[in-house]
């Protein structure tokens, strides 16, 4: 746009950028454009659907546990289940996941047990010693600070010529941090096998996206780092999967990093300690319920005769059983002895701290 401050007539344009938006499934489950090849695999779509439903029901149970004092602060994925589940579905076992605290869906897809997730949110570090891939990172709590780790992990892959990819998930708020830019900048320089994913759920606690960035999209932030940023409809799991598959394949193929902005909406509170009604209207939330990812995929599956009422009933029963069994196991896990808080501080506990450990164990060092 020309203005009196931009006397650009006749000046050559030396750079030109575009940001694409990807969507296949409309909110009513109808198709906007030909689906990617993998979407012909009914088993995959059903598996995605099942995991998203499991995540939603698990979240509901976790909140109930928190409200009754049996779980600590918990962050639900309500409304954005398609993002972390969809991204994780495109990863291989040997790839490395670097999740934020709202990525239970990715952990569940990668084989982390429900009781392990509960154990973490229940205030026990053993929940991070989980049974997913042994090299995956635990939830990152300081927003965006895992992005440089992802670049470091990807650098190690490149150095060792390993065909593996680091996949780093964070929220829209994280894109305001230097950490994320520094990591993307470095990844761009070295064409590292890393995929950065911003789950843009529109709200960083109470701060809306328009107060988070003046940019039209988050995806364009990749352009400054020298690689492609793409926006996908984060409520369309097919679009999330397709973007993730392409990005991960390109990264594995040595083509360097990609950035995916998955536009979704946080239908719930930020965490169980938050009350979103303080800062946004019920009308706004209600409007976004019409776009949510689970009903959308169900409508598509039903339209293709891949899913029916009995499937839905069976799934609900399966999830209920699985979640209740996990909760039962979680509640039975006894706390560690106090002195074990020292056990993984260092590879070998230095003598001066060993005395503190003995003190906690009831020794005579007190």
């Amino acid at each position: 746009m020309a203005s009196k401050w931009m006397a650009n007539e006749g000046l050559p344009v030396i750079a030109h950028f575009e940001v694409c938006h990807r969507n296949y499934l409309a909110p009513d489950g109808s198709i906007n454009r030909p689906l990617p090849v993998f979407a012909a695999d009914a088993n995959l779509l059903v598996a995605l659907y099942r995991t998203m439903v499991l995540l939603r029901l698990f979240d509901r149970k976790a909140v109930a546990l928190q409200r009754t004092g049996r779980l600590g602060t918990y962050a639900v994925s309500l409304g954005q289940e398609a993002v972390s589940v969809g991204i994780a579905s495109a990863m291989r076992e040997e790839d490395v996941l670097l999740p934020s605290y709202r990525d239970n869906g990715a952990l569940i897809w990668r084989g982390v047990k429900l009781e392990e997730i509960l154990l973490f949110w229940g205030g026990d570090e053993r929940g991070n010693n989980f049974s997913g891939p042994v090299h995956d990172f635990p939830f990152c709590v300081p927003v965006g600070s895992q992005a440089p780790h992802a670049a470091g992990v990807a650098y190690a892959f490149k150095l060792r010529r390993e065909p593996r990819v680091a996949v780093c998930l964070f929220g829209d708020g994280a894109t305001s941090k230097g950490d994320v830019y520094e990591a993307m900048n470095f990844a761009g320089i070295h064409k590292l096998p890393v995929v950065f994913v911003a789950a843009n759920n529109q709200w960083a606690i109470s701060v809306p996206l328009r107060l988070q960035t003046g940019a039209e999209t988050l995806a364009q932030k990749a352009i400054a780092a020298g690689f492609t940023g793409e926006q996908v409809d984060g409520n369309d799991v097919v679009a999330v999967c397709a973007a993730a598959e392409e990005a991960i394949a390109a990264a594995r193929d040595g083509q360097g990093p990609r950035f995916i902005e998955a536009v979704s909406y946080r239908l719930g509170d930020h965490t169980t300690s938050d009350d979103a009604s303080r800062y946004r209207s019920p009308e706004e939330v209600q409007a976004h319920w019409k776009e949510e990812p689970i009903a959308r995929l169900r409508a598509y599956l039903a339209s293709q005769n891949m899913w029916g009422k009995t499937d839905e009933e069976q799934l609900a029963a399966d999830c209920h059983e699985r979640i209740e069994a996990a909760v039962e196991r979680y509640l039975k896990i006894a706390s560690r002895r106090p002195e074990t808080m020292f056990d993984h501080l260092y590879a070998d506990l230095p003598e001066s701290y060993a005395a503190q450990r003995r003190e906690l164990a009831g020794g005579d060092d007190a």
Partner: protein, 326 residues
Amino acid sequence: MPEVTLVEAINLALGRAMEDDASVVVLGEDVGVNGGVFRATVGLQKRFGSERVLDTPLAELLISGLCVGMAVQGLRPVGEIQFMGFLYPCLDQLVNHASRLRNRTQGRLTCPMVLRAPHGAGIRAPEHHSESTEAMLTHIPGLRVVIASSPERAYGLLLAAIRDPDPVVFLEPTRMYRTVKGEVEDNGDALPLDLAFVVREGRDITLISWGAALKETMAAADALTVDGISAEVIDLATLKPYDENTVLRSVAKTGRCVIVHEAARTGGFGAEIAATIAERGLSSLLAPVTRVTGYDTVVPMARLEQHYMPSVERIVTAARKACQFG
């Protein structure tokens, strides 16, 4: 054995570590072609290539965060921060990730990384180049904080830091980089971490220091002999975890202690040592434990920095006072 400067000893240790272990990677600003602003990494990129001796963008947070990711993936990264005053963006990574990853994953993931930085004043540098805020680092559980004060100890301790399975911040006394020389055999022998070095035996008073302040502390010990005072000097070397036993053993022998550090007094690491002696060594004390430190001010720029740093005179005065107490 060849005589080398402290910074040459650092360079020898880095080269040895990279030679011995293909997973050791050196990264930082200007560490490649330029060999580092103090030349600590000189020649390494030629020997080991630009993939293992890596010039990073100008981003300190990134350097520390990359180290975390690399270390978790089995590399042994050694990051360089050009001056301690530029280390603060790394604190988030050190506190929230490097130092606690082992603990928060109960040993599933570990973080064997080293972050190196020059330490202290006395080189007439601009602002933010003269910091000695090591006490801040010693407050971080799960971290190791090591500072060398001779070429021999720089070589041996840096090798130990790189081989250590946990994260280490390795501080290098800037004004000693080229002013001290020592015989260093590049034989790959590491020195033990977590142990203090008794660098001079004595019977009347214990002087404890680390980093460049050890130079004035040793000179003070020499000067005290004129008064007939025999001072024992301890180089603490590893500040976290620090070797309480060597300190307590020495104070039990001498009955007196002066702690010397360049860092500001309040909350400085000297306070920690004094508290340990008060708790566990009080009965052997013949005089109060005192500190000779930098002042509770911003490190002054070149014109006044000499007045900030503990001088031989200040140390001698404090030691005499302790010996005359009571």
